[in-house]
C-alpha cells in the first residue's frame, strides 16, 4: 500500500467538499478499494471516509418504502430491512461476516461490480439511488460493468426501495470468490414483475424483459418454459462458459419465482 491522506467528514456537504480535490477518492466499507490498494493497484492520494456521516446511516421503513443510508453495512440491512425480506436475505448472504460488517450498500452500488448482489436488487426494485445532488432511477443508474451514472465527485447518500408484494433472490456462487456466478432477483409489484440478473453479462446487471412479460400474466416458473436466454453477451471465464451462464439465468429465475410464491 502506498501512503495516502485520510479525512473523515461528519456531513455529506463536508464530504462533497473534500471530494472536490482531484486526488481524492471516496472510501465507504473499503471491501474492494482496500484490497486493491494493498496490492498497489490503486494509489489514491487522499481517502475521504464516508463512515462518519450520521445522515448516511441506517434503515427506515415507511409507506411501502425502505430507505437505506448509503453507508449502512450489509449486516445492518440484513437485520433491519424486515419489511423487504427478499432484500434482507440478499444482504445476509453477501460475502462472509467480516465483509457484511464492513461493506456498505452505497459502496456496492457505486462500484457496480458485475458480480455484486445489490445491483440486482436495486434494478429489480427500480430503487431510487439518492446522491448528494439528485435522485437517479435504477433503470438509468447502471451503465455497464463498474460503470454508473454517477458524476465526478458525486456520492451515493441513500437508496430507496419500493417494497414488492413478493420477491426472491437466487445466487449461484462462483466456486472460488463466492460472488454471484449468476444471481437473479425477481420482484412482483402491483404494477408488474421485474427480473434483474447480475454476474452473467459483459454489460453488468440487466433486466430480463422477456421473463418479466411472461411472468406478468403467469407468475409461475412454468411461464419461463419456452423462453431462451441468449448467450451472446454473457461472461465467459474459468468458472463457466457463456452458454452455462445463460442456462443459469433461466434456471435461477425459475427458482426465484418458485421461492417467491
Amino acid at each position: 500500500m502506498y501512503n495516502f491522506e485520510f479525512v473523515k467528514p461528519s456531513s455529506i456537504s463536508e464530504a462533497v467538499t473534500a471530494l472536490t480535490d482531484e486526488e481524492a477518492t471516496p472510501l465507504s466499507g473499503g471491501q474492494t478499494l482496500l484490497p486493491t490498494m494493498k496490492q498497489r493497484l490503486a494509489n489514491p492520494e487522499k481517502l475521504v471516509s464516508l463512515a462518519g456521516i450520521a445522515e448516511m446511516q441506517g434503515v427506515t421503513e415507511a409507506d411501502g418504502m425502505v430507505h437505506i443510508g448509503a453507508a449502512t453495512t450489509h449486516a445492518t440491512v440484513a437485520a433491519k430491512a424486515q419489511s423487504y425480506p427478499g432484500l434482507a436475505k440478499l444482504a445476509a448472504h453477501i460475502g462472509d461476516p467480516a465483509v457484511r460488517n464492513r461493506g456498505t450498500i452505497g459502496g456496492s452500488l457505486a462500484n457496480n461490480d458485475p458480480a455484486a448482489c445489490y445491483p440486482a436488487a436495486a434494478l429489480a426494485s427500480n430503487a431510487t439511488i439518492v446522491t448528494d445532488s439528485r435522485e437517479i432511477a435504477a433503470d438509468d443508474y447502471f451503465q455497464g460493468m463498474f460503470s454508473t451514472a454517477l458524476g465526478e465527485g458525486e456520492i451515493v447518500t441513500a437508496v430507496r426501495f419500493p417494497v414488492p408484494q413478493v420477491s426472491n433472490y437466487q445466487k449461484f456462487e462462483q466456486p472460488a470468490s463466492r460472488f454471484a456466478l449468476v444471481g437473479v432477483f425477481v420482484a412482483k409489484y402491483a404494477d408488474g414483475v421485474r427480473v434483474a440478473v447480475t454476474g452473467a453479462s459483459e454489460d453488468g446487471v440487466f433486466r430480463w424483459s422477456e421473463a418479466e412479460a411472461a411472468l406478468e400474466s403467469n407468475f409461475s416458473a412454468d411461464a419461463l418454459a419456452n423462453l431462451t436466454v441468449s448467450a451472446q453477451d454473457m461472461i465467459e471465464d474459468l468458472h463457466g462458459s457463456k452458454a452455462y451462464r445463460a442456462n443459469l439465468v433461466k434456471v435461477l429465475t425459475g427458482r426465484a419465482v418458485k421461492a417467491a410464491n
Partner: protein, 790 residues
Amino acid sequence: MPKDSGIGASTKRVEDQRFLTGKGRYTSDINLVNQTHAVFLRSDVAHGAIKSIDTAAAAAMPGVLAIFTGEDFAEVGGNPAGWAITSRDGEPMKEPKRPVLAHGKVRHVGDAYAAVIAETVEQARDAADAIVAEIEELPAVVDMSAALAGGPFVHDEIETNQCFDWGWIEDNRAATDAAIKNAPHVTTLELINNRLVPNAIETRASTADYDPGTGEYTLYTTSQNPHLTRLLISAFVMGIAENKLRVVSPDVGGGFGSKIYHYGEEALVLAASKKLCRPVKWTATRSESFLTDAHGRDHVTKIELACEKDGTFIAFRTDTMANVGAYLSNFSTATPTFLHGTLMAGNYTVPHVYVNVKTVFTNTAPVDAYRGAGRPEATFSIERVIDKCAHELGLDAMEMRRKNFIKPEQFPYVSAAGLEYDTGNYDALVDKLNELADFKGFEARRKLSEADGKLRGLGINAYIEACGLAPSNLTGVLGSRVGYYDAATVRVNATGNLSVMVGAQSTGQGHETAFAQVVSEMLGIDQSSIDIVHGDTAKIPFGMGSYGSRSIAVCGPAVVRATEKIINKATKIAAHMLETAEADIEFKDGQFSVAGTDKSVSFGEVAFKAYVPQNYPVEDLEPGLEETAFYDPGNFTYPSGAYACEVEVDPETGKVTVENFTAVDDFGNVINPMIVTGQVHGGIGQGIGQALLENCAYDDNGQLLSASYMDYAMPRASDLPFYTVDHSCNTPCTHNPLGVKGCGEAGAIGSPPTIVNAVINALHSAGHTHVTHIDMPVSPARVWAAINAQ
C-alpha cells in the same frame, strides 16, 4: 476399554494449546534486532530475455541498503534436483541450472530477477518499483504437447523441452504391449490430473542472520526438513560449510510438500545478511505463494486396462506427460516416476504393467510433490479406468476390484510394477466399507434424491500407496542423490524428564504428541514429562524431515531404537544400584526390579544416578543417559484403503454436493487414533478440493489465471460432508518395530477417484451414459456441459 496414554491412546494434542490460543511461533514471528527486509522483483511475463536491469535510481531511494540481481549469483551453484532419472534410451535427464535469481532469461511469471534490501518492507517495495528492467517478452510455451512438439524452448540448450522419457519397467514394455494387443477387452481413458496450488496457511518466510564474529549463519525458514535445506544450501548452492550454517524451522503452518524444497529466497537472504552483516527478513505475500510455491500434480495421462471378459485384469499401460514447470524443483523428477510408476499395479494381481512418463519443461512455476505426490496420480488413473471398464463390461465395479485383489495369503507380494508389498488385506477393508457405507440402503437414498430433482451417485475406490520414504539402498539404485533414514536422540535429564530430539519436522501433524506417546509407552513415564524437540539443526540429529507420510514410519523406529538403547543402559545402571546381575533386572511401568524380589529402583532414580555418578562403575559404564539412533527402513510401507462416497448432482446447474464419505484405511498399528482420524479428514478435504474445486490454470501466455482466492477455489467447511473414518482393519507393517505405515497422505490419494466415480455413477443413473469421464475439478460448469454435450 481404550487406553488413556501411550501407544493406541487418543490423547489430546499437546501442541494445540498454543496453536489454538495464538501462541504458536512461526518464522515471521521472529524479529531480530537491527533486521532489514527483502522484497523480490518478479517477472510479469512468462518468458523473456533480460536485456538490462537499471538499479541506480532504486539504490538511491530512502532506506535502501543493497540490491541484488542474477549477475550477483552467476558464480553460485544451482538449486539441484534430488533424483537423477535416466531416459529409456540411456541418456541422463536434462538438468538446467536453477539460479538464485533469474539470469539472462525469466522463465515463468513470478520468476524473481532482482531483490532489494531496505530498512523497511515498504521502502524495499518502493525501491523495487523503481528498478527499470528491460525484459524482451518471448513467446511462452504452457501446454505440454505444444512444448514437446517444438519451440519455444524454456531453456535454450534443451531443444525438446523434455527433461526425460522414462519407462517403467522398460524390460516389461514388449510383453505388456503384446498382452494388450491380444486381450479380449481393452478400456482406454484419457484424463488430466489437475494442477494445484499448495496453499499452506503460512506463506513461505525466511530470515537470515550472519554473525561476522563467528562466521556462522542462522537461517530461520519455514521448512519440512531443516537438515535437507542445510545440505542443499551447503553442498550445492552456496557452499557455506555445514558446520557454519544453522537452519531453524519453528512452528510451521502447513506445507503439503511445498516446504520440502529449498528456494532461491533462502539463498538470497543468506547472501544479503553476509553482505550487510545484519539480519535480513523476507515473508512471501499470498500472491507470491500462488506464483512461486512449487505447484502439484499436472499430469496428462492415457491409460489402458486390458482384461478378460469376466473382468480378470491382464495389463495396465499408461502414457503420461508430467509438467515440471520452468525449473526442476528438488523432488520434481522423483514424483512422476518412482512415486507414481511403481504404484501402477494398484492393489491388484495384474500380470503386466508398463508406464511411460515424459517430463516437460514449460513457462510455468515449478511443479513438485504435493500431498500424495505421484501416488494420487497413479490411484486416480487406475481407479477411474477400472470403473469405466466395469461399466463397459456390465460388471459390478467393486466385485471387479475384488476379483483382482491380491489376497491376504499372497503377501509378501511383488507387484508387476516392481514393489514388494509386505502385508495387506484388501478384502477385509471392502467388507468393512460395505458395512459402514450401507451400500444396501443406497438405492432408497437415490430415490429420495430423485424425488428432489437430484441425481445421486455412489463412488468407490481401492488404493495402495508407498509410504515411509524410504529404503536408502533401494532409492540410491533408483537415482536418489540423498538418503532417507531418520534419526532421534533421547536425552534423559538428571531429574528424570526427557527431551527427545527428532529429525522429523511437524507442519501441524501432532508430532509432539505422537512421538511422546511412543516413548511414554516404552519407559512407563508420563507423557507430560517428555518433550519432543524438532526444527533446529543445532539441536536435533541429522534427519530427513517430513513428507511421504514418513514421520512415524521412519522417525518413529529411530525413536524406538534410541529408547531401547536408553533402557539397555539404564538396566545396567539399575543392576549396579540393586547389586545384581543385569539379566535379573525386569523393567516395567518405569520401575527396575530384581526378578522375584521386592527390590526396585525407579527410572528417575536411575537417571539421577547417571548424572551424579557416585558409587558408579565409571570404568565399565559412561555416566549420562542420552542415546541416538539412526533408522533406515528395509522397505517402503504400504498403507491401503477402500473408500466410498455418495454425491448429489443438480442436473440443472451441474453442482455436485458430497453427501457422505466413508474411508476405511489400513495404516498398520496406530499410535494415536484421534490424530490419525484428523489426518484422514484433512486428506479427504484436500482430495475433495482437487476433485471438485481447485484449478491452477494458466492462459496461453503463461499468465496464472487463478492467482488469488478470487479465482482459486479452496474447499470450505460447507463443501465437506461428515466423514465416517475407520482404521480398525489393520495389518501391521512387517519390517519396522512399531508396525506402523503412515497416514498423512492417504485421504488425498483415495478421495479424488471416489468422488469422480460417484459423479459419473450419478449421471449414468439418469441415463447420461455418454459421459464417461469429467476432468477435475468437476465443477458445476463442467458437469452441466458434460450432461448437455449430446
